[in-house]
């Protein structure tokens, strides 16, 4: 009886110790998108937890703006430490005091991130080429340039979006017509000419593929590479083109939420996510471009990645201030029938 009692006491003591250790371990809550994004981060979680000594929990957001609204609602007592978001939304969050600049000195891997990919709100964790994807068997010709979207042979066959990257498709149209985000009228004039070709407008990137797979349209005019990354096998009818100029990539940042107490541990997690090995594993799943210079992008994306200095860098502050007007003009001038 005595050995049994001793064994029970020993086991209880060990269990208590384990619980105490777990309680001492800080939990870092990361808000990110669901689906493949969550899967990619979840895949590297054990290694990040091991290297940082922190526990990581994920919460999902439907999109960057809904994440921002959640953080705004919880501003007095934020429940999230780190937030992955689009660069345009991160700029709004920083201006509104939702996020704060990361402690750069505590994130050693920042030295391997190109300066162009480090923003006031945080560093880029991955980026995705924006271009055109289409089904070659349902499209009358091989698409090569942005201007091809305006070809009359594509009547009713194009899908596009202005919600993705906060109206950047309008900016691209403006750039093609000699304007820019600060001179948007040529963009709207150009889009008016595209109206006959636009069959459907999508809100989320995944919808663009869904509409093409359902046979409703055959060309996605503001497509993100990651959506069809896995369909680009040799001989596939799905093609992705990143037209020469202007070139743009959707950039996703990791930001530090203001008002949390675990900043040192949160910085360690950011550093771990920016590690070259971790980056490679994440982008392999997402079909994206790693931000760490030492990390290799997935083989299928290497041909389409433009040099960083050729990418168009929009003025997000200006775009954020005028996006409401653009949405209204889009509704009145482009999609009203």
């Amino acid at each position: 009886m005595r050995p049994l009692l001793k064994g029970c006491l020993w086991a209880s003591a060990m269990h208590g110790l384990a619980k105490l250790t777990a309680a001492a371990q800080t939990t870092i809550v990361v808000m990110t998108w669901g689906g493949p994004f969550m899967d990619a981060l979840n895949d590297v979680r054990p290694d990040i937890e091991k290297s940082t000594g922190t526990k990581i929990e994920f919460v999902t957001q439907a999109n960057s703006v809904s994440g921002l609204q959640r953080l705004e609602a919880l501003k007095a007592n934020p429940q999230v430490d780190l937030w992955t978001t689009a660069d345009a939304t991160a700029a709004v969050a920083l201006a509104n005091g939702i996020v704060e600049p990361i402690p750069a000195a505590e994130v050693a891997n920042l030295k391997d991130i190109p300066e162009k990919l480090i923003f006031p709100a945080g560093p880029t964790i991955w980026s995705s080429p924006r271009g055109i994807f289409y089904r070659a068997d349902k499209t009358p010709f091989a698409i090569k340039t942005w201007e091809d979207l305006w070809d009359p042979r594509l009547k009713g066959l194009v899908t596009t979006s202005i919600e993705q990257d906060k109206g950047m498709f309008i900016v691209i149209a403006a750039l093609l017509a000699g304007g820019s985000e600060k001179n948007i009228d040529p963009g709207f004039d150009k889009l008016k000419a595209l109206k006959p070709n636009i069959g459907v407008v999508y809100k989320a990137d995944a919808e663009s593929l869904k509409f093409i797979q359902a046979g409703e349209v055959s060309v996605a005019g503001w497509a993100v590479f990651g959506v069809i990354y896995k369909l680009l096998e040799p001989g596939s009818n799905y093609k992705f083109v990143m037209p020469a100029k202007p070139q743009f990539m959707s950039v996703n940042l990791i930001t530090m939420v203001k008002g949390r107490h675990n900043q040192a541990e949160a910085a360690k997690v950011i550093n771990a996510i920016l590690d070259a090995g971790i980056q490679e594993r994440i982008v392999e799943r997402l079909g994206s471009v790693p931000s760490n210079k030492k990390a290799k992008p997935p083989a299928r994306i290497r041909d389409v990645i433009p040099p960083l200095n050729e990418l168009y860098n929009p003025d997000w502050e200006y775009i954020n201030a005028h996006y409401g007007e653009w949405v209204e003009r889009w509704n009145r001038e482009i999609v009203s029938r």
Partner: protein, 282 residues
């Protein structure tokens, strides 16, 4: 002890009401907050600026008109489809009734997103309507059923069908069968019995169904979002766009309050009409 009993009896209904009242209070607080937000100006002062903006522009008002218009014609069509179904269910043998109920329940518990996406597959260029017609050479090109009002209307007729059928069915099955027998014994044929006995008695179910479906259609978000293809946005889509994409919460709140007030007015009209109809029929 004897005196304690009435107190207990009085306290019980209050306790039972409490969770419901708390829930209503939370939603009421949300409406009050929305109303207060709609009255703020850019400097944080009180203003009717957002309402003036909305009401003075036909483009904005058109979202409300479009939503009422589509709800206005889809609801009667849903009634025309739902009433015979409910009537058949109420008059069927138990096995047939069970089968019909199961069909409805499966539809009812399937997510709106799944049902709406299924409609894309049915109504699309390669859907089960277009494909046979193309195959048979009846049409040369697919009929465009999606990404404009027609596709949204089809969804707003079909998806809320259970909301129409169940209330009507629950009233019809409780109508005393002897009433029809009595009408027949007094010389009424089946058509007259239906219009003068069964239908008037089923009006409470019909009105409940109309209210449920009308509200469902009026505030639809997923169906116009997915089937309108960006070309047929209803008022809920516009509110979402203002709140979530443009981040203009004050304007989104003002539109929400306008929608709420107009909806309450319409419900009041339906209620008054329903009371008169019931009064006239019985």
């Amino acid at each position: 002890m004897q005196r304690a009993l009435p107190t207990e009896r009085n306290a019980t209904p209050l306790l039972l009401l409490l969770p419901g009242l708390l829930t209503i209070a939370v939603f009421f607080a949300a409406v009050v907050t929305t109303g207060a937000t709609s009255l703020l100006d850019a400097q944080g002062g009180w203003s009717l600026q957002q309402y003036a903006r909305f009401l003075s522009d036909g483009f904005y008002r058109d979202f409300v008109w479009r939503s009422f218009r589509i709800a206005g014609y889809c609801t009667p069509i849903t009634l025309l489809l739902g009433y015979p179904f409910a009537y058949t269910m109420s008059r069927s043998s138990p096995p047939v009734r069970l089968t019909l109920t199961l069909v409805l329940v499966v539809q009812f518990f399937t997510s709106y997103i799944v049902r709406t996406y299924a409609l894309i597959l049915v109504l699309g260029n390669n859907g089960i309507i277009n494909r046979p017609l193309l195959f048979l050479g009846v049409i040369g090109r697919p009929i465009p059923l999606l990404f404009h009002e027609a596709g949204v209307a089809i969804a707003l007729i079909l998806v809320p069908l259970p909301f129409m059928i169940f209330p009507i069915y629950s009233v019809l099955k409780n109508i005393e069968p002897n009433l029809a027998v009595a009408a027949a014994s007094l010389g009424a044929n089946r058509t007259r019995t239906f219009w003068e006995v069964t239908f008037p008695l089923s009006l409470p179910g019909v009105l409940a169904g109309i209210v449920l479906v009308f509200l469902f259609d009026l505030t639809a978000y997923i169906m116009p979002g997915m089937l309108g293809g960006g070309y047929f946005n209803m008022i809920a889509n516009f509110i979402q766009e203002q709140a979530m994409a443009v981040l203009d919460k004050r304007f989104a709140s003002a539109i929400s309050i306008v929608l709420l007030l107009v909806t309450l007015l319409i419900l009041y009209v339906i209620h008054v009409l329903g009371s008169r109809l019931r009064g006239a029929s019985g």
